[in-house]
Symmetry: C2
Subunit: 336 residues, 2 copies
Amino acid sequence: MRLSELPTPALIVEASDLQHNLAAMAATLPGSRCRPHVKAHKCTTLAAEQLASGHRSFTCATPLEVIGMAKAGLGEDLLLANETVDAQRLGAMAALSDARVTVAVDSDATIDAAAAAGIREVLIDVNVGLPRCGCDPDDAGRLADRARAKGLGVRGVMGYEGHVMPVVDRADRTKQVEECMAKLQAAHDLVGGEVTSAGGTGTYDLHRWANEIQAGSYALMDTYYGRLGLPFRQALSVWTTVISVSPKWMVCDAGLKSLGMDHGDPSIDGAKVWFCSDEHVTFAPEASSSLRSLRVGDHVKVLPAHVDPTMALHERVHIVNGDDVIDTWAIDLRGW
Amino acid sequence: MRLSELPTPALIVEASDLQHNLAAMAATLPGSRCRPHVKAHKCTTLAAEQLASGHRSFTCATPLEVIGMAKAGLGEDLLLANETVDAQRLGAMAALSDARVTVAVDSDATIDAAAAAGIREVLIDVNVGLPRCGCDPDDAGRLADRARAKGLGVRGVMGYEGHVMPVVDRADRTKQVEECMAKLQAAHDLVGGEVTSAGGTGTYDLHRWANEIQAGSYALMDTYYGRLGLPFRQALSVWTTVISVSPKWMVCDAGLKSLGMDHGDPSIDGAKVWFCSDEHVTFAPEASSSLRSLRVGDHVKVLPAHVDPTMALHERVHIVNGDDVIDTWAIDLRGW
């Protein structure tokens, strides 16, 4: 199929950009040094591409992602890097055959729920500065002891420095990563274990201590991470049709139902995006842009500001090579 | 099932609040005076409740919504209040049996595409001040002539004053509605036809001229419209589980994958929401709030800032009566 024949709005990924991104990550963080986070794409076919790039361990944010990855044959080493006390879902993860499942815990309640459900291995989730999940570093040893007393294997620690991801200045970002990792190291001194898991796309090459990085956005990218000057290309866009042209603006058929909006408006190369509605992006082409000649029925690419929630709004993503649609992948890890 | 047994995050609707909202709208705008917009909920079961409240005509934003409504037996009078030149989707709408389908057009291209696909009736979509779709009022007569020359029935005009919806001051909102409707009336003078369609939840009771109002959010509501002091209750929330408790904040398991974020952060009664991540809401209970006693595993309701994109992120919505889950409805109009 030609790209111009694709019904819109449609999520598309330029194959060469995706392959560039996978290769760039694998070159810097080969094999187990990167534990790709599947929440960023929610697509087992894309995860299989990451496996083909040498990464055999994966990070998940929901039990459904863990279970879906295991059922897709990608369960060699799955980390649920999130807390849950849902007995049924913990039990379903524990019951997976042919999968190694490790669950993050940060409290007595999450340890007890994991143990009661038959989960076998955990990481102690440590707060390294982002006010979200994660125990106080000083409490990590006590929690590890409790987990071991409950029969759980404690593989080590994790700590996500999410608040550092958007820091644009690289030197500042590096300094803050080191401050966060000092906290994680202090926790690890109390916990032990082989795994020290941290990081994300924004800090993937700034870690000197953590032995695995939970990067997700790097594969497809978005304009938010694009500001950081990382060596990853914007592979993802929403392919749209121009549905209305006025003297001062145009409208295409993407919108709030096809774009994650928490990081702000999407972008269009050569145009200023004015605002988004449920099924519309209103934009004004720049004076020198070829977009000024767009007519109703023509197509325009819209670049999402945040990849993760954008993926969650679509059933499928089309892989394109220039003007050819060469494959279509199910976004099969949506939901919980 | 008890609410406490529901896996989280889960979209829930308090049945009595929904019924209150449906009754309040039907009292002010009975029957065809309201043409409920299904984009706000994307749920044919909820649309059937609106039909039971007396509204037999509906507004849609996508061809999929039109086709899904028709197939659910709700196709007596469906308006696609949006432009499309997708020949296949226009053809699929034209081919619906037992459905009356009217399509909005605002250009030669959209008229020609509708006619070529076998669409029988259109409304001329007029720009009444929101920079989005809609023709210049002065051009409406020419477009109507073109449509009629192509064999299309022109039922009248529509114009959406979306920019007026968030105006908090009621007198100011009323004045702006009248300015917008003067434009639509001028277009209608050139176009003719029985239908003058406009409005939304924020202006539903401020129209003196338009004969049908395209209100959608009123049924479930969100915190954005909640600011306007309308007689509609917040029926919708995301039911969540507390997964982490720290001295100064708590975390529950909703987030960017379960909440429409374009209107900003969601709300929690009795707490300050700090920020959202993909699968987390970090919040701090107020000093006097009973939420301060929440522990891991307890539940909290999160109120979305924008209903429409929130619905699009969920497969189903649970109808609750206090602590009882009394029904589960598929959100079956997602996609395009």
